[in-house]
């Protein structure tokens, strides 16, 4: 089986897997990074989103060989309880979530959005999140949390 080298959350990793193995499978079963969730396996729900070279991509169908040499960021790479990303802090402040299964993918989408648009409107945030399903109905809290994180990031940027 071929060896694939990539970087995950800033660390170089090298995995041995058949080339068409989904990135999601490698993250979860080989690298023990369980924060990226499985929801559908056919690119419809957004649970499995990760950043690949900064762009949000669904990992459930993405062949591992296609990310060779690229930089992957998962939800674990955003922040930690000790050093939360402003998005994570805002989600806690707004109590944005119910079962929370959708949140990893939503945080990744939001991160990519704020990287390219630091002051999105409610409609722009909602539009960006249309590829993510939340079945519990935590949408409005999530929209508020992303707006709050955007404001916080702008504040940090001004300092």
């Amino acid at each position: 089986m071929p060896q694939v080298d990539l970087s995950v959350n800033g660390r170089p990793v090298s995995v041995t897997a058949s080339g068409e193995t989904p990135l999601l499978d490698v993250l979860r079963n080989d690298l023990g990074l369980l924060g990226t969730r499985f929801g559908c396996g056919f690119e419809q729900c957004g649970c499995c989103l990760v950043l690949i070279d900064g762009a949000p991509e669904k990992s459930c169908t993405r062949p591992i060989e296609s990310v060779a040499g690229k930089a992957v960021t998962t939800v674990e790479g955003l922040g930690t309880p000790a050093r939360p990303h402003p998005l994570q802090q805002a989600f806690l402040d707004e109590q944005a979530g119910q079962c929370g299964y959708c949140l990893s993918g939503i945080l990744i989408t939001a991160k990519a959005l704020l990287d390219r648009n630091p002051s999105p409107s409610r409609a722009e945030i909602a539009h960006a999140l249309d590829g993510n399903i939340c079945r519990c109905g935590a949408h409005n809290r999530i929209l508020r949390a992303v707006a709050k994180a955007a404001a916080r990031l702008r504040e940090l940027g001004r300092r």
Partner: protein, 707 residues
């Protein structure tokens, strides 16, 4: 001491040690049979315990849903977790506190009236005594102590923790992507498994092309077959998953009864054999001829739970003991079903709850656990993880049954209903495990017989008849219930059961009557609603939305109201919706006023009410399980669309304060009122009424063309 009335959960599990323990200095463990399904119940339980025990929340650990550790409180369902489970825990904690204070009084040689507890320490007339729960714990045999009903919980006025918003305990781990879900459990030497599903009950495995399935797997796999139960197992998930996806094309079945798209519509129920019963007022004598009558029929298709992720279950059978991990809503009923299906003594089965994706009722969780247990029992010593495929969850989970609700009323001179008949056709809303009912077990040799057709008894809130009895002041009301025992697919409990279609029917019908009587819908309701708590939520939501009588109909923009008290005994909720209708419905804004009695965690309760509003809006606008080509055909998120972020309106929620220490369940309270408010707003916008759910683009177009 004689026993006063104990709350039901505590009366059934009166041993106080089952609820509370003091495992180490400064630490408290509480147990609940209720489980976290994303509704924040464990946070609310912790608040109730902290309040009654007078200890800081940070000292408390909670164990939930484990047949080895926690009390048997049945299912986490029906918005009863706080209303019953929380009240039971609260009383248990009050009993424990009183018991410790009696011991402290003996040790300190004083009266209990001089004592108080502060963060677990015993104070005498306000001064620390050096005694606390943990110093006293050695002398108090909690394991032998039984609840007597002699200690009463604190009065509401003394609450410092309950009634204040508390941050969800489970949320941080989810925001940081920790391994909190059952899907994230990794057992040593774990094997992955996928099941090749029987296309229907009684189908026989005719042939398996093992070579083709192995080719699809591109990795090592094994087959496990027992009767007509077929599973694929292996240590590489990608290989097992590929095999599981390909397998249905390489397996043939006999004795499959195909279902058709005709059966997907609620109207199909009307032609079916049914078990009929009637409750309520006797049939009226022939009504005076000059009396006005009104009649209308409302329908709703089958709904899926459509959890964000497919179900998952783990099992290990070792040394004659079966351990099962599940996101089921009821670990004890599941244990009973497993014992029956596998012919094992319940004593050798442990069932543990692990969090899963939000389920909103009886989805595939129990069945996935059953699958894992069946496989594990045949492969002793191997830890087995079954994760359903997305299409499997959509295609094989039990769905909420389609319903037809026909309302007929004789009107009084003011145009209000004087005599009311609701006639309901539906499959069952209750096929939870407990007496069999595990999908995988149906494929085993000698499968358990199909459970006898039954719906949730009225005493438990009813299934198809849930909320069929309007809360309005109607002199004579009756319900005719046609339980259709044979449905094209398995049907069972989904958030609110029959409440959503029934409230949609009742509240649509009331708007139709108001229109006939040329009255404002809000005033028309208030004129026949004596219950003061009901009146308050209707009045409040009208104020929140700045309700105006007489807004013109048929402009493309509409506003509607819906009200119900869930099960006529849980929380009250009134909802107003603003929307626009062109080819589709665009929700603009939603307001909700609710009376949930004593609200333990206001932010948590608001989250539940809002989640219910959004889910109901999604049901009304989009959702229906579709049948074609012999089976369920809505097998992905394109075939079963749900509301997306940009379709969700802003929502405002207010609680109407209630002077009570009785909490009322909120999880399902908004489903019916939201459906009704949207339905009434659509009719206001169009100037013509749609009585069929969901209100899809096709239905709206058909209505516009007909009008």
């Amino acid at each position: 001491m004689t026993s006063a009335v104990l709350p039901p959960g505590l009366a059934e599990n009166p041993n106080l040690g089952r609820w509370v323990s003091f495992p180490a200095p400064g630490k408290v463990t509480i147990s609940t049979g209720k489980v976290e399904i994303g509704q924040g119940v464990l946070t609310a339980m912790m608040q109730l315990a902290a309040e009654e025990l007078d200890v800081a929340v940070a000292r408390i650990a909670i164990q939930s849903g484990d047949t080895d550790l926690t009390p048997n409180e049945g299912f986490t369902a029906g918005s009863q977790s706080i209303q019953f489970g929380g009240v039971a825990l609260r009383s248990a904690c009050a009993e424990v506190r009183a018991l410790f204070l009696r011991h402290a009084a003996t040790v300190l040689g004083c009266a209990t009236s001089e004592l108080a507890v502060q963060d677990g320490g015993v104070l005498r007339n306000g001064t620390p005594t050096g005694q606390d729960y943990w110093t006293l714990a050695t002398a108090v045999d909690l394991a032998a102590a039984r609840a007597t009903g002699s200690a009463s919980p604190k009065p509401v006025a003394d609450h410092t923790v309950v009634g204040r918003s508390a941050a969800r305990l489970d949320l941080p781990a989810k925001v940081f992507g920790e391994a909190v879900f059952i899907h994230d459990m990794m057992l040593d030497g774990m094997w992955h498994a996928r099941v090749v599903r029987q296309p229907g009950r009684g189908a026989k495995l005719a042939s398996i092309d093992e070579a083709a399935i192995r080719r699809a797997a591109r990795g090592p796999i094994e087959f496990v077959r027992h009767g007509d139960f077929l599973a694929i197992v292996g240590q590489q998930e990608a290989a097992v998953d590929a095999a599981g996806t390909a397998a249905p094309d390489h397996v043939t079945w006999q004795g499959v009864e195909p279902i058709s798209s005709v059966q997907q519509e609620a109207a199909w129920l009307l032609q079916r054999p049914a078990i009929d019963r009637r409750v309520g007022a006797p049939e009226p004598h022939a009504s005076p001829r000059n009396r006005q009558r009104h009649e209308a029929t409302y329908t709703r298709g089958h709904l899926g739970h459509a959890s964000i992720a497919p179900s998952c279950g783990l099992a290990l059978y070792r040394d004659g003991h079966l351990t099962v991990w599940t996101h089921s809503q009821g670990v004890y009923p599941l244990r009973a079903a497993l014992a029956q299906s596998l012919a094992l003594d319940p004593a050798v089965i442990s069932v543990r709850h692990v969090q899963g994706p939000g389920c909103y009722g009886h989805n595939g969780a129990d069945d996935a656990a059953g699958d894992a247990a069946i496989i594990a029992a045949r492969l002793p010593g191997r830890a087995i993880r079954v994760r359903w495929r997305r299409a499997e969850e959509f295609g094989f989970e039990p769905v909420s049954p389609a319903m037809v609700v026909k309302v007929a009323a004789v009107l009084d001179d003011a145009g209000r209903p004087a005599d009311w008949t609701a006639e309901i056709w539906s499959g069952t809303h209750s096929a939870r495990p407990g007496s069999g009912n595990l999908l995988g077990a149906e494929a085993l040799p000698n499968p358990p017989p199909a459970p006898p057709p039954a719906d949730v008894p009225d005493a438990n809130g009813g299934g198809a008849t849930r909320n069929a009895d309007p809360l309005y002041d109607i002199p004579a009301k009756r319900i005719i219930h046609h339980l259709v025992p044979e449905t094209p697919v398995r049907t069972s409990a989904l958030r609110g059961l029959g409440a959503m279609p029934n409230v949609f029917a009742i509240e649509s019908f009331l708007d139709e009557l108001a229109e006939r009587a040329r009255q404002d819908p809000v005033q028309f309701r208030l004129a026949q609603l004596a219950d003061p708590r009901a009146r308050r939520v209707v009045e409040r939501v009208a104020r929140m939305a700045a309700w105006q009588a007489g807004l013109p109909a048929g402009t493309g923009r509409g506003r509607g109201i819906g009200f119900a008290r869930y099960k006529n005994r849980a929380a009250y909720a009134a909802v107003v919706a603003d929307l626009e209708v062109a080819e589709t419905i665009r929700l603009l804004r939603i307001w909700c006023a609710a009376d949930a009695g004593l609200v333990v965690n206001p932010d948590g309760a608001a989250n539940q009410l809002e989640g219910g509003i959004i889910q109901s809006a999604s049901w009304v606008l989009k959702e229906q399980v579709r049948f074609a080509d012999g089976g369920v055909s809505s097998l992905d998120w394109d075939g079963y669309p749900v509301l997306r972020f940009s379709e969700v309106p802003e929502i405002e929620i207010e609680f109407v304060a209630a002077d009570t220490d009785v909490p009322l369940g909120v999880g399902e309270a908004t489903a019916g009122p939201t459906a009704a408010a949207i339905g009434n707003a659509v009719s206001h916008a169009l100037g013509t009424r749609i009585r069929e759910l969901p209100m899809t683009r096709e239905r709206i177009m058909a209505t516009l063309l007909a009008g």
